[in-house]
Every structure is written in C-alpha cells, then in structure tokens.
Symmetry: C2
Amino acid sequence: MMHQLVAAIDIGGTNTVFGLVDLDGQILLKETISTGHFPLPEDLVNAVCERIEIAMQPFSATHMLAGVGIGAPNGNYFNGTIEFAPNLKWNGVIPLVKLFSERLHVQAVLSNDANAATIGEMIFGGAKGMKDFIFITLGTGLGSGIVANGEIILGHDSFAGEIGHVIMFPDGRQCGCGRRGCLETYCSATGIKRTYSDLLMSRRIDTQLEIQDTNAKYIYEKALMGDQDAVTAFDQMGDVLGLALANSVAYTRPEAIFLFGGLAMAGDFIFKPTIESFERNLLNIYKNKIKILPSQLDENNAAILGAASLIIKELNIPDFLK
Amino acid sequence: MMHQLVAAIDIGGTNTVFGLVDLDGQILLKETISTGHFPLPEDLVNAVCERIEIAMQPFSATHMLAGVGIGAPNGNYFNGTIEFAPNLKWNGVIPLVKLFSERLHVQAVLSNDANAATIGEMIFGGAKGMKDFIFITLGTGLGSGIVANGEIILGHDSFAGEIGHVIMFPDGRQCGCGRRGCLETYCSATGIKRTYSDLLMSRRIDTQLEIQDTNAKYIYEKALMGDQDAVTAFDQMGDVLGLALANSVAYTRPEAIFLFGGLAMAGDFIFKPTIESFERNLLNIYKNKIKILPSQLDENNAAILGAASLIIKELNIPDFLK
C-alpha cells in the first residue's frame, strides 16, 4: 500500500517555510526561503514545488503526495486566495490554491495562519478528539481560531475568529486597527510591553532606554528575577485575558482553551492570573468545567504542522489508511 | 404518498404550548395548557400526547407523525433532558426526549427555547439558506442562538450561545446571574426599563409611580409621542447592543443578525442606534457587510415553529419529500 504524504506551506511576510509531512505529523522535509525574494507569487510557487518534487523522489516507490495545505496571512478558505495581505508585497488577490494544485496535480487548501495552527492543535496537538475548543496565539498581536461541532468557524467570508479585535474597553488603548480597547492591545507581546512601560512610567522611573529595549521575553526574565513590575504586567494581562476568555465561553462553550506562542511559555506567570480571572468572570453554569491549557504544538513546527493539518482535515483521511 | 407532520412542544414556566405543524410551517393544531398544573412531568407528557393523538386522527389516511420537537428552558440537546430549570417546578433532570419518543413511537429532539427559535428562523424565517447567522431574542432577558457552518453552536455541553451574559462593563450593572455588567442588564426589557428610570432619576423627576409601572411597551409608546428620555433610553440600549454585536462578529462573522422579541418591534427606535453603533464599532474588514434585520418569525407562533423546526432539521427531510 502507498503511504500518503502532504506538502505543507506556511507563507509569512518575511519567510516561507515548506515541507513534507506524513499523516502522523512526522516532518520529512522542512525548508525556508525568503518570501520577499519573489516579486511574483507564481515564481515562489514554482520554486517551492520544484523542491517538493525533488524531495518526493526518494519516497516515490512507497509514498504518494495526497495534497497541499497552505497557511497564509488573510488566507480565504472559500476562494483559495490571499487577499490584500498587508504584510506581503504581492498586490490584489492571489489564487494560491489554483497555482499549487495545478502545478502539483493534487488537491490544495488554504486558510489563514491562526486557523491552520488551530487545526494543527486538533490533528497533532492537545485538542485531539475535541469537537469544541478555542485556540489563542499570543504573538505580536492576538490571533485565534474557534472550533465548534468539530469544524473551524470560518463565517460567511472566511474571516471569523478575530478575538484579538474584540473591544474590551470602549475608551481603552489605541489599536493598530484604528479603534480603541481591542483585546490584543492588552494581551499580546505588544500589549504586555505597553503595560510594563506604563507601570514603570507611573512610578516616574526614568527608564527610557529600558522601555525601548523591552520585549515579552525580557519582561518574563525580569519576572523570573522577582521584578514586581514585570510580575504585575503579567497579572494585568491575565486579568484582561481571563475576562475575554470567560466572555468567549458564552459564545461557543468550548471543552478547552489553548494558549500558544511565546507568552504562553511564561508558565504560571501568565496561566495563574488568567485562570483566576477566567473562573471569577465565568457565568455560574460554566465554572470549573473548562480547561485553559498550553498548546501541545512545538512552536518551531506549529506553522508547518498547521498547514499540513489543513489538508489532512480536508481530505478526511480515515485512521486505518494512515 | 404520506405527508409528514411534526409535533411541536414549547414548555414554559407558566404555559406549555403544543401543536401539529407541517413541513411548510403551517400550524394545523395549537393548544395551550398550564405547565404548573402538572406536578409530575410524566402527567404533562401524557396530557399533551393524548391531545396530539386525537388531533392526528382526521389526518391518518394522508399524514404521518414524523417526530417531536421540544423547546424548553435549560434544554440539553445532547442528553434530551431539561436540567434544574429555575422557572419550572419539576426537580432535577427530566428526560423529556425519552418520555415523548416512547409515548409517541417517533424520534424526538429537544433544545433550549432560544436555540429552537434560532432554528425556526433558519427553517421558516429570514435566515433561510443562511449558513452563518446570529439570532438575538430581546425579552425579559437577552437570549441568543449562533449558527455557524449551517449548524447551531451547542458547545461541549449544549449550553453555548449565552450572549446575554457577556460582560460588557466589568463594574457595570448588577445582573441576576450574580456578576456585573452583563449585556442583558442593558439590552432587554428589564435593561431599558432600568435605563429609562435612571434617566428620569438623574433629572430628579419624582416619578416613583411612573417608574414602577414602566415596561418596554410603555417606553416605546412614550418614544412614539416624542418623549426625549424614552428616545434616549432606546439610543443607549442600541449603543451597547451595537457594540456587543460588533464584538460577536469577531467570533463567528455571520451573514446577518436577527433581532426578535417585543423590543425588536420598536422599529427605528431600536434598529437605528443599534446599526449606527454596530458599524462604528466593527473591525474594518467587516464594515458594511453584515445585515441587522428584524426576525421574520411571527412572535405569536415563534415558539411552536421553533420547536417544530428542531425536529425538521434533525430529521434532515429533503425538500422533495415536503
């Protein structure tokens, strides 16, 4: 019997990571190329596909390529396109699914990167077997994917799941989206840096240099060393995040909520205040029933496993064929 | 060919309404009995089923009973039970699906009343053909049902869709649920009454009597007569509701949002400020794309059509058999 492999492609503003993944999540090939190196998306597709075809050759007697999964910013699942992604140089609407499937003669599927990681958590991570969960990625901003009834919620135009842009405080912090008080202005690397800076400045500490150099990792290291402002910054982030997640439960009542990304690595500093605020803000019928868990995806491979899981889910490959 | 009918049962704290409905939503029988009259749920089930069996007799040559749909407070879809419903006298867990299906020898299905009305909007109302929409019922409180990917979001334990208990303002109005600032303390008949009273009191108008007698209909009639406090009460409710609905879009990106219930009948008084606030608070990518519409369900029949639609959806009866 031929074993099946899938091609996984994660297109980012800086780099595109691609590879071959088997149905158990083993990564047989992983390469990185510069996205900006290709002024035309067709050239990127060609370069990636050439490498994939070469990498498939040693497996050709035993393995076949079953499909292509693509994670990309502003990826539209329904159209198979990326549309006016602000951090990509390509203009307009790029039909990536068409380009990849015609070039490799297999089915292709595309979604945005947060949705890809969400399906990755379901196929390869901590959400195996779950039909209702929420995936939160704490990076520069706050991304999310919501699974209900075993399917990712795409919404009418594939752009559902923007929990980072829920307005928490109508007169709150200015957000890059032009509005005020969005969740991600408080709960993200950018958000905690702002909180930490505010804390220092409120005590009139002249730390201009320190503030400029601050990033989430630095604040975590400060917290580890017992710095009270750093610990408070995590507490305040957890306070807002816990409230937002409690509100999210009122929408989809997940079995669990997964936190992914650099800040989720801060362990108790982030999980403790988040869970405390979460339980305090939950409606009674939900209390003590919903787990907030660290993602089980390895951060280094999450993007590629997410892209792979998109096509594995789409092909609906039964367990006995794996 | 035998035509199919479904039995529809809406169990409320005061009354139980039941009837026979055909697959086009024509109501062939509709009766009301007092829920409180039956100390045991089995007795209510018997009384309802007897009436249904008698009502079916004239149709027996041409029609068959295809199933039973039940809407009930705290209805658990997965278990087919109602569980500790605070406004029913029956204690504990009542296996209504089992009771009805054993008695009538057909499939039965149960959900909470807001979910039933939501499916009613999808099968018989304005959401026909929609796969992603949100249904909001503005009654004493604020109920909701969320449809994504063509299915109602039940969540892990069937108690998803409690948008009325999203915390809008952490230090806001005291809610009956024990927490503060829930959406329904602002956007419901109770909420607008509170807002109107606050407006009168803030101007030190001694209207103790007026406040006690106030209900949403009274405030609507005042608004119609040009009463500025009444108009402002609607504006303030729309302001909060629009924000809440804009945040809801960030979760499931619906095609439309339907408003149902007495307050939704207030026309422009409620829709205008709601839509204005909604568009102002929407993330850019969602602006001017999502309709806020009045429910197309007749309020008098919504409960029974909702219950009927639960079983019609469950049986997945194809159009050509209708």
